[in-house]
């Protein structure tokens, strides 16, 4: 069934004290779809991703991920998803190979297939020559590619990536885009990716949800969103129109407040 959603949320909400980081978000993501969560820093993208990866319980609302209920079957969900967190999560004190071996074992990739899948992943990510180097000597782009490999060794149905291109140079960014498209093509995986780069969302995503202050303001294909605003409109224009905002959104101060509230109420 191709139109069976692999992720579906109903009024998913997370509050930290007085702050509503994610506000009644309802969305559906299809198989083999690249779905972008777009918005400024502090919009609630990471909080939404943390809930979908079972790392943070919702305050209210519900969701199914890979056909399992978020509230009651988190362990089953974790088997079926891959997660590339915002922070660089590969262990710098281990080699690239060792990081992959750790992931393969944690995800219970069958022993007979472990070495082959690790070798394939290293080759695919162009890390074959660096497999025995400690990851702390890798570049940011190499670490991101390693993490994508780590989070897909178990052939997940859904891969969630939080700001995967943040801090990368243009070459590194394009490499990540290529790998995201490849995941969809090769594994038929749905990819949910957050970014605050509108241009990136435009070229990469099949559909996007524009998020501001915890709420989805619009959700459609990039082309449809732009055509609503006008000829030659960019996603930036769409976003400005929908949020009625100038450049005041997502200032550093806001982000800091949001993150502090999140920490204090955890």
């Amino acid at each position: 069934m191709n139109d069976e959603p692999v992720v579906e949320t109903f009024e998913l909400t997370r509050r930290f004290g007085d702050l509503t980081a994610v506000d009644a978000v309802s969305l559906r993501v299809q198989r083999a779809e690249i779905f972008g969560l777009i918005g400024p820093n502090g919009a609630g993208k990471s909080t939404l991703i943390k809930m979908l990866t079972t790392m943070l319980p919702p305050t209210s609302g519900r969701a199914t991920v890979a056909g399992f209920d978020l509230a009651t079957q988190p362990a089953k969900i974790r088997r079926r998803i891959g997660y590339v967190p915002q922070l660089l999560s590969a262990d710098g004190e281990l080699t690239g190979y060792e990081n992959l071996l750790l992931s393969a074992r944690l995800y219970l990739v069958p022993r007979a297939e472990r070495e082959r899948r690790i070798a394939d992943a290293l080759a695919l990510m162009g890390l074959g020559d660096d497999r025995d180097r400690l990851v702390r000597h890798y570049s940011g782009g190499m670490i991101r590619r390693l993490e994508i490999a780590q989070s897909t060794l178990h052939r997940p149905a859904i891969v969630l990536m939080d700001e995967p291109t943040e801090g990368l140079d243009p070459v590194g960014r394009h490499a990540v885009w290529d790998h995201i498209r490849d995941l969809r093509g090769r594994l038929g995986a749905a990819v949910i990716v957050t970014t605050h780069y509108m241009d990136e969302a435009d070229v990469l995503c099949d559909r996007i949800a524009l998020i501001d202050r915890g709420r989805i303001r619009a959700m459609d294909t990039p082309a449809a969103l732009k055509s609503e605003v006008g000829l030659n409109a960019t996603l930036d224009d769409v976003f400005a129109k929908l949020t009625g905002g100038g450049d005041e959104r997502g200032e550093y101060r806001d982000v800091r407040q949001t993150r502090r509230a999140a920490r204090e109420h955890a």
Partner: protein, 262 residues
């Protein structure tokens, strides 16, 4: 999944966590060397001086014999009690997110980390055994005794490192942890039988020492490390106390650890 393969999977995940930690030590063994210095200093400086104080060791044995197992337990404690710092560090770096997003049961992650602390502590044992032998301590090298010592040290290190992980889950920042770690080691070490017999203590302190797991680790080590070593509480009792407390610590940490990333 069948019961058998579920158990197999659990241990694969537990050992994966421990294996990763041991690999890190192999890449950078400097930490092990630097940690070996402290127990040597305790034995050589503290031990040689206190050996001149009459009546400190119970019975007729030399004080250095009495002290060596205590210093071994202490040095393993000092390494384990600061484990929480590296847990917070892993959270700050993002490595913890990778563990928690995996399907590995939380208890397998916590137990895997505890096991790696046990392995780490064994390097201390090698140093203390060598140093003690050089200083003329009457060691027992019977294989059964060495095996029991290994088990005692691993249990103690796993217990205290998991305790440290629980503290880390509560305080959440490295700065706060540093202060607390220092505060914790002193009473655990001094309110135990590590460097003097409990009989010398005032009554109230004696009850504290009897509730202190380090006391049972030291008692067990005195039994199996020394030639003709004798236990005050029984080796089985020592092992059971450590194992039970260890399981309790893992159960508590299993509940708290996943909340570190929130």
């Amino acid at each position: 999944m069948s019961g058998e393969s579920a158990v197999l999977g659990y241990f694969t995940q537990l050992l994966a966590v421990a294996d990763a930690e041991v690999r890190k030590l192999r890449h950078d063994p400097w930490e092990l060397f630097s940690r070996a210095i402290q127990p040597m200093l305790w034995l050589i400086l503290f031990g040689e001086v206190m050996a001149r104080v009459r009546g400190l060791a119970p019975g007729s044995g030399p004080y250095l014999d009495f002290l060596a197992p205590g210093i071994l337990a202490q040095s393993a404690l000092f390494v384990a009690i600061f484990y929480g710092i590296s847990a917070i560090w892993e959270r700050d770096l993002g490595v913890l997110h990778r563990y928690l997003a995996s399907p590995a049961p939380r208890s397998a992650l916590v137990a895997g980390k505890a096991l790696s602390s046990g392995v780490r502590a064994l390097s201390q044992a090698v140093v203390v055994y060598l140093c003690a032998a050089a200083m003329g301590v009457h060691l027992s090298l019977a294989p059964a005794n060495m095996l029991a010592a290994t088990l005692l040290i691993a249990l103690g290190a796993g217990l205290f490192s998991t305790f440290s992980l629980i503290i880390a889950c509560i305080v959440r920042t490295r700065e706060r942890f540093m202060g607390i770690g220092q505060v914790l080691t002193m009473p655990i070490f001094f309110a135990s039988n590590a460097i003097y017999p409990i009989a010398l203590m005032p009554r109230w302190l004696r009850s504290v020492a009897l509730a202190n797991p380090l006391t049972y680790e030291v008692d067990g080590l005195r039994t199996v490390m020394l030639a003709g070593g004798r236990s005050s509480y029984g080796l089985g009792h020592d092992l059971a106390a450590l194992a039970l407390l260890g399981v309790l610590m893992i159960a508590i940490a299993t509940r708290m650890y996943p909340r570190m990333t929130e």
